[in-house]
Amino acid sequence: MNTENKKPSKVAMREQDPKVRATNFQEVPLGYSIEEAVAEASRCLQCKKPLCMEGCPVNVKIPEFIKLIVEGKYKEAARTIKETNALPAICGRVCPQETQCEQKCILAKKGNQIAVGNLERFAADFEMANFEFEMPVMKPKNGKKVGIVGSGPAGLTAAGELVKEGFEVTIFEALHEPGGVLVYGIPEFRLPKEIVKKEINYLEKLGVKLERNFIVGKTATVDDLMKEEGFDAIFIGSGAGLPSFMRIPGENSIGVYSANEYLTRSNLMKAYLENSDTPIIRGKRVVTVGGGNVAMDSARTAQRLGAAISTIVYRRTEAEMPARSAEIHHAKEEGIQFSMLTNPIEVIAGTDGFVKGLRCLRMELGEPDESGRRRPVAISGSEFVIDCDVVIIAIGNNPNPLIQETTPDIKTSKWGTIEANEADGRTSKKFVYAGGDIVTGAATVILAMGAGKAAAKSIVEDLLGKQ
């Protein structure tokens, strides 16, 4: 057999053994070695018209940075990514590349697409580990001040873009720790907080100012910042906000958490460590309701906090789950149970108020609904109870009202999200921009980054004039 013509296949990233990692909070994928990265990068066809870039919300120069890896110029590869993406070590880890750049890759037709995300992570990690900070090319200071509300992916991206354009940039963060969902939501085993810290430090070294414990809408309003404190523009990237609940009986029993609360206790407040003062109920049988990435994060966190059985309950089937396939795969490998076509109808609690079980109905798929997905319909008489001591509700969020309440001239949708043009981030209020989950409802890190970037471009245009 002639193996000469056979194309090499994708270099898989090594991972912690599922049995071992299900008991610790260390990162699951271990990263590429130099040899692995070069082998993977060498497979890239260097298309003249790269489709991968079209699939990227922030237009990373993908073929260019991959070529630099092949040439052994890893630092240059990282800096090429950073020209359009301020947070490569984060994106390399949490972007859904399978539906973006990698899906568009010409090799994807044969199921052999380039692992762009893995290579991005490699370049970013290599630079972080081996090189000191170097000031990138910055435009001279232009004397204009921009305030950024929220230090999640949208805000950090906008801040990074604007500081390089010569603006004086201040980020206002409501919590005590910057990073938004990157620190309170996404667990350590998927995104080490040290990485987030380093990416934020990088922005601070570029001159971005960070005000912690500052709740825009409460500590000062958008108008205060613009009229009294001299901000020429404000970008609102305040995130997803208030968790949704199912509105079923017993939902306020002790041991029922929103995914936001459960993950915030574990991630931001470090309840997973022994020395943290913030408690968390370490359930033995934990049920997580929902089918997105947040549900996967919650169920996997529960397992690591000592659950003997951690189950995901979802009312449709795996095919309709919004979570990344890689996350579902990781969860399954770690032994997370999946109870599909299951809909909770009641949380059962003991007289002490603590959760004892979750009463559910079996579902079947009926006609497609407005989302195009087949609507789950209850099967009568199918009621059953899952014994559990913790229930985590991961079914999404409603927008936080704090900014809208105190900024009456900003237009909101009927769902309470801020209305902003998708393409440029402009809102109904002059010199106020918005992007990320506060506009779209819960979405992904990279979409929020794309929105931050688009808004930054509009701010440059509106404050400095078309260039």
Binding site: R247, T264, N400
Partner: protein
């Protein structure tokens, strides 16, 4: 970082801190709270703003040492900085001219009651205030309350100061004597608010309480502080902390307050061991 500019010990377990926080001082209104984190490993704890001066740029908090975090907070000194302080949070108290107001504070709940009494007074109301506590040691702000109220009553469970008995007993007596009130606000331990508000509600008085459920962020993000009000789930941090007492599911609220009793006791015990140098 915000600095403690004045520290006072109001009783054995109760402290008053004046903190340099010009932005919060400027924005805050009666009924609002701040989140405080005393150490880098510490919890975020909600505390009502007991007093503030926008011109001088300070706020005051009054807290009782109940667990590890408040214990750590209590050992800070004048001049020390507080690592994290954020606010003002929550909806301000709805203040209007109601007429004859009955304001009831139980234990450390007297602290958050004080700015409300002041605001109600400034709005032209006639104020009857009752402050109650287990014993005379735990009575606080008596002089301040006297100065802002038209009438002040003090009750203690053991009779060591003022009238012997619960504040609720005195409320019953006032009502039995034919006194009429147009509005009532009760702040104190959950169980005290439950029983005291039941009396005023039964007498047809519109009654508000300020709730203190477990919170993490205080901005609506976690939903840990949810309570059932009028059969609907509300978040105390963004929808409250003040609610119409007649609509609250008290039993659920009181149960939820006990969610971490075991962990909290362990945490305090470990901390005490560290303080005394004994191995845990």
């Amino acid at each position: 970082m915000p600095k403690i500019i004045k520290k006072e010990r109001l009783s054995d377990l109760v402290y008053r801190y004046r903190i340099d926080a010009p932005r919060i001082a400027k924005m805050r209104k009666a009924g609002q709270f701040v989140m405080i984190r005393p150490t880098t490993e510490g919890e975020r704890i909600p505390l009502t703003i007991a007093n503030a001066n926008a011109k001088e740029g300070w706020i005051e908090i009054i807290f009782q040492m109940v667990g590890k975090s408040t214990k750590i907070l209590s050992i800070l000194h004048e001049g020390d900085e507080i690592i994290d302080l954020a606010g003002p949070l929550g909806k301000p108290t709805h203040i209007e001219k109601f007429g004859n107001c009955l304001c009831i504070g139980g234990g450390v709940g007297t602290a958050p009651l004080y700015p409300i009494v002041r605001s109600l007074k400034e709005a032209g109301n006639t104020i009857t205030t009752i402050i109650g506590a287990r014993n005379s040691e735990l009575i606080m702000l008596e002089e301040d309350m006297k100065a802002t109220s038209d009438r002040l009553f003090v009750t203690t469970d053991d009779g060591s100061r003022g009238q012997k008995g619960f504040a609720a007993d005195l409320v019953k007596k006032l009502l039995a004597d034919g006194e009429k009130f147009d509005f009532c606000v009760v702040i104190g331990p959950a169980i005290m608010m439950k029983f005291t508000s039941a009396i005023t509600i039964a007498a047809g008085i519109k009654t508000f309480v300020s709730l203190n459920p477990i919170m993490i962020d205080g901005t609506g993000m976690c939903g840990g502080c949810r309570i059932t009000v009028g059969k609907q789930t509300k978040f105390a941090c963004v929808d409250g902390p003040e609610f119409d007492a007649s609509l609250i599911d008290w039993d659920e609220m009181i149960k939820r307050l006990g969610a971490y009793k075991k962990q909290e006791a362990n945490s305090l015990e470990k901390h005490n061991c560290l303080l005394t140098g004994r191995p845990s």
